[in-house]
Amino acid sequence: MSSRAENLARVARAATPTLLGIFGAVMLASPLRLFQGSLPTPLIPLVVVYFWSLYSPGHLPAASIFAIGIIQDLLSGGPLGLWPAIYLTVQYIAISQQSYFLGREVHVVWMGFAVAAMSVSVILWLFMSLFSGALLPIGGLVLQMLTTIAVYPIFAIVFGSLHRRVVIEV
């Protein structure tokens, strides 16, 4: 009995990144309206995906990322498959540059996140423009990405300690 409970706890711990991503997707669908709506909600799942793809991709398999993205798509009412594609692209970027980023200073990794966020913004903008048949304004998207990039260090610290204390067993 106790070993079963232990196993469950282990799995729950190992699934923490996935749950955090899903939580981020739910937060994106909640009427948070930071500073009276003047600041867009940061894309927490993007941080989750980048962070764990870089430091421990095994804890955030592609299936989890797909699930996070689909949940976000379903809640936002946008075209299905959009956010999974974007998050998987981020994972691809992170994994392919892993050997470069690991062991570097924090701000280098932060820059890497900024580059990844901006490249997927371009993909997002291109697809949505194609989808709607008009060139869409980029202001809102850039603001949201900048907000996400700005809060990245805070979340990276939190996720880092979470990873050490919870995800990897002590």
Partner: protein, 353 residues
């Protein structure tokens, strides 16, 4: 048990098949994406969205409670600093509203007189459904809100949703207990509108910016959209009621007019879904296709289609009209001939079917 225990590393810690999984799921999402590009409103996707809405609504209700509480507190703090400005603005608004009140009183007497007439048929009253905003899409290119009223409460896809300031959008996905409102500035939003003062009917198109625009396709000679004119729903197409306040024209170019929305999406918390039974045209013109929302009558008159002469709204001698109508009751709906006092709007006769 080994699957959950010892081999956990292979499931949640292994690296061996991560590339394969990445490729596989990227492929799946690409296929999904392409299919939604070509069939965005496919019933499968719609069903999936509604199911997700239903499943997420308790979670979102749970999450939005504390958020609302915190926002109220923070909002209050902000209000303390702006209290003088707000006071001034409110006083001005109060003065303006008092003028409207006088006018509304006189109009009410006119309407009462009109309602005495035999030919008058009361418009079906709208039954608003109140709902709280429990979620919204914080996506750069998706503008929608999730409210906690669904088909159980009488909501249905296509209905208009308003808040205390004006129209905010229309319902797109409706599940049993929750529905999604597509906001007016979403790129998929198209709302038939009417510009008061210039008598132009148009289509309000969402641009994914904060303000949607009216696409101007054709203007008759003399029709001019000018900044400051009120924009209301036109009721064309027979889906939305006529006369919901939408916004004010803020900028006009050759091809489009930008509309500053009355609604403030950052403040919308309580919405009303207007469950409006459209009067069916039974015979030729015996029925008055009246389209008056219960509480959101736009301030100015609801004039006839663009061809009508631009009658000044306020300055009509209101007493003369009911008497004239009583003397010679016209065979057609009474109000059709009475533009200025026509809260019960006539125009759908040639456009609303």
């Amino acid at each position: 048990m080994d699957i959950l225990g010892q081999d956990k590393r292979e499931v949640f810690g292994g690296r061996s098949n991560s590339q394969v999984g990445l490729l596989l799921f990227s492929l799946v999402s690409l296929i999904l994406l392409l299919s939604s590009l070509y069939a965005a409103e496919a019933s499968v996707f719609k069903k999936a969205r509604e199911t997700a809405l239903e499943a997420a609504s308790p979670v979102l209700t749970f999450v939005s409670g504390p958020i609302g509480w915190v926002r109220d507190r923070v909002g209050d703090v902000g209000d303390y600093f702006r209290v003088l400005d707000q006071n001034k603005a409110l006083r001005e608004e109060n003065a303006a509203l008092r003028q409207w009140e006088d006018e509304a009183r006189s109009l009410r007497s006119v309407i009462a007189a009109l309602e005495e007439l035999d030919v008058y048929k009361a418009p079906p009253s709208a039954k608003p459904i109140n709902a709280f905003v429990i979620g919204e899409a914080n996506d750069a290119y998706a503008h929608s809100m999730i409210v906690n009223a669904g088909s159980k409460d009488g909501a249905a896809a296509g209905l208009a949703a308003i808040d205390e300031r004006g129209m905010i959008g229309r319902l797109v996905d409706v599940s049993a207990n929750a529905s999604r409102i597509l906001l007016l500035n979403d790129i998929q939003s198209r709302i038939p509108v009417f510009v008061e003062g210039s008598f132009v009917e148009g289509l309000l198109v969402g641009r994914s910016t904060s303000n949607p625009t009216i696409a101007i396709t054709m203007l008759a000679n003399g029709d001019r959209i000018e900044p400051g004119q009120q924009v209301i729903t036109s009721g064309a197409g027979g889906v939305l009621p006529r006369g919901l306040a939408v916004g004010v024209v803020s900028k006009v170019t050759e091809k489009e007019a930008t509309v500053e929305l009355s609604a403030d999406y950052a403040r919308t918390r309580l919405v009303r879904i207007i469950n409006y039974d459209f009067p069916q045209v039974v015979e030729t013109e015996a029925e008055t296709p009246a389209e008056e929302p219960a509480e959101k009558v736009a301030p100015a008159s609801q004039p006839a289609p663009p061809a009508a002469q631009p009658a000044p709204v306020v300055s009509q001698p209101v007493e003369a009209r009911p008497q004239a109508a009583a003397a010679t009751p016209p065979p057609e709906p009474v109000v059709t001939t009475q533009e200025p006092a026509a809260i019960v709007a006539p125009p759908a006769a040639d456009e609303g079917d």
